[in-house]
Symmetry: C2
């Protein structure tokens, strides 16, 4: 949202003061990093029991030896836990390796090469391909569609999800729009959770493309910062009820629940979509790492075990988010030079600064030894049309570093705004 | 090789005797399986320490926290061990997830979509694509090229590798031949190890295609059945010396060393090829499972630790191979109805029966409760032109079952040959 409640003359008058604060900041020779949504060491420690699992066991609940080849769907032990969390029958959920990003990439790659179950032709044979991108959004999503040469159309994000009037109009009119990125809960970076109504409209809407797909990356579905876990909307069931059974490709993963780099990824969809995926995945390999899956199943026990783990994360993360919000409020509110999200879950705080200054803020911070995510990175092709948006990732640094870094960022936001006001 | 040293009249004379033996076999109601090259429980037990690793550690030799995101190349700890085994600088070896089949599939998939570093265009834009397939070979290799619609050209296997006169002539003449499958050591299913001369000729030969690739699946490079480990030919260095630095995509994995279904896969190639791979893999995901990599590095210690583990496997496998060879010899030699390999490594015994009877042997065995790999499965499109080849996989069954099953197979080979002789 546009930041426009500042007083140009007041800002300009403070420029020297802000510049002096910035010089002091630079003189401290900091080396701090707020770039990535990585869990901290403290958070990773919550899962350290996994380092020694699944010893001494190697047999799944259904009696298979997880050490050997086989079972391209993943073991039921872990699939059942995610099916429970996602309110789906276990048959609709596959457990695969690493992060769900891999599966998202493969699904698009294979749709390009082979088409989907409801495609008229492989996507490679379409004259042009387009994709809806709610903005700001997840940079790695946009990187995938960019990689495959898919044209990205920006859609505004509202408080309850993407602007559905815009979405419905676009997909109804253009058969070349083949899909849409979604992080439906505690969205990256806005923290927005889609309302039930938005979810319903997405699965019900008329699409000109018969093989339109909702990429439903539920990466943060249990990543609360409070004691509450929001309801998970069962879009796969709703899509089937609406007569669009194959519309949703849904994902989850343990990446920010146990070990970010050594997780289990989940792909949930219609039976027809899953069968089509397995027809390719079964040629690509002989099945996922079931030892890691059994280790995770033992670590969690059940869906409530996952929620318990997330409460531990919330206990570590919430004070960091509070600290960032407190610094933004105390340093910036009086000048009206920024707006920011106050998320109740997820990994990011979305900071909007005065139009045309986001790039400058990141540059000033960098010169002062504070690495921020590149400006524009939450937009397709990394181009923020208003040069306004900055994604803050509070999770990784220890609290003391976070405090110093955010205070420095506030100084940069003020100076960039004052520079612009004086220009 | 054609089996032609039998005496038709003698065989026909024995038909009733063989038929009687077969009826006795059937009456035992067996349920035995010789289909897949899976390690046995005894072999998997050799790696059970892995179930509790890498606890309590989570830091790599270079100081990175393996629990967190990052490092798309894999950790040096495990890459260095495979680099040592493959006689390569560590920079030329990546450690990735699961089986190397995944990487092979992705490399072909991405060459189709994007082309290689030396391609004139993406392979999808070629009018036709062809691939050399030494036969008999690995069914899952052929399944990948079939999946992408690549035409497969059969090349005969000799004792020292593929028939190079045939190979050189084909690749020099046809720019649409873009690659060739190779299992250069203890090949699947023949057990053949390529000679140094064959390796040299492969990397030196003139190819009409500028972006021709040797798929160098060194899945069995340390899988000896004796005390000896054959020399590993450094084809990547040789290719560079020959002025074809990007010709070789080489692979290894821990799949049949530790846990078949939960391994670490290795991709070795030129820096240019690896960079190109990472440019795609880095969009596909955030890096491989480094926790599993650290567990493997700790389990092995070093390259000699890998060889120690393989000696344990040889101790379990060699008696099974010996038993199969002994039964084949005692039951079949007198009649001249079969030829078979006597491998010193790998996972298979290659059995050639009387032309036109392989399918019948598999069918007879199935009716008697003995599952054999489908006839023809070691050929592209599963079509053995001579209906002669059967792949025996002795590893999985316990010794007693193996003995019963192989004795039954011998009965089926004899009956099928006698049926043909009497027809």
């Amino acid at each position: 949202m546009a930041v426009d409640s500042f007083d140009v003359h007041e800002l300009a008058a403070h420029k020297d003061e802000f510049a002096k604060a910035y010089e002091e900041l630079k003189s401290r020779n900091l080396s701090l990093n707020l770039t990535r949504g990585k869990p901290s060491s403290e958070q990773l420690d919550f899962a350290n029991a996994l380092l020694g699992l699944p010893a001494p066991d190697y047999v799944s609940a259904s009696g298979e030896d997880v050490r050997n080849y086989g079972n391209d769907k993943g073991i039921t032990d872990i699939r059942a836990i995610w099916a429970d969390l996602m309110d789906l029958p276990v048959e609709n959920v596959l457990a695969q390796d690493a992060s769900s990003l891999n599966i998202q990439f493969d699904l698009i790659s294979w749709a390009m090469q082979f088409g989907n179950v409801d495609s008229e032709r492989p996507w490679n044979q379409e004259p042009v391909l387009k994709w809806l991108c709610p903005v700001p959004g997840y940079d790695r999503h946009f990187a995938i569609t960019q990689h495959f040469g898919i044209e990205m159309i920006q859609v505004p994000m509202n408080e309850d999800g993407p602007d559905m009037d815009v979405v419905e109009k676009l997909v109804a009119a253009d058969p070349q729009i083949k899909g849409m990125w979604n992080v439906p809960m505690f969205s990256n970076p806005t923290g927005v959770t889609y309302s039930a109504e938005v979810c319903r409209r997405l699965v019900q809407m008329e699409t000109a493309a018969p093989d339109f797909r909702l990429m439903w990356d539920n990466a943060y579905m249990v990543h609360t910062l409070t004691d509450e876990f929001p309801e998970i909307h069962n879009v796969i069931a709703w899509a089937e009820e609406a007569g669009n059974p194959n519309r949703v490709w849904a994902f989850g993963s343990t990446s920010k629940i146990t070990f970010a780099g050594a997780g289990v990824a989940f792909y949930a969809s219609s039976k027809e979509n899953l069968d089509n995926y397995l027809a390719h995945a079964g040629i690509r390999g002989i099945g996922p790492n079931k030892v890691n899956q059994l280790a995770h199943a033992k670590f969690f026990g059940d869906a409530e075990g996952v929620r318990e783990q997330m409460r531990r994360h919330a206990g570590s993360l919430a004070p960091k988010f509070d600290k960032v919000l407190q610094i933004l409020d105390s340093r910036l509110s009086a000048y009206g030079v920024a707006e920011w999200s106050k998320p109740t879950g997820g990994y990011f705080i979305n900071l909007d600064v005065v139009d045309g200054t986001a790039r400058r803020v990141v540059e000033l911070a960098k010169e002062a030894g504070i690495a921020l995510t590149g400006s524009g990175s939450s937009f397709p092709l990394k181009q923020d049309p208003n040069d306004r948006n900055i994604r803050l990732a509070p999770s990784l640094p220890p609290m003391e570093e976070l405090e110093v870094a955010m205070d420095g960022v506030a100084t940069c936001v003020l100076l960039a705004a004052a520079e612009k006001a004086s220009a």
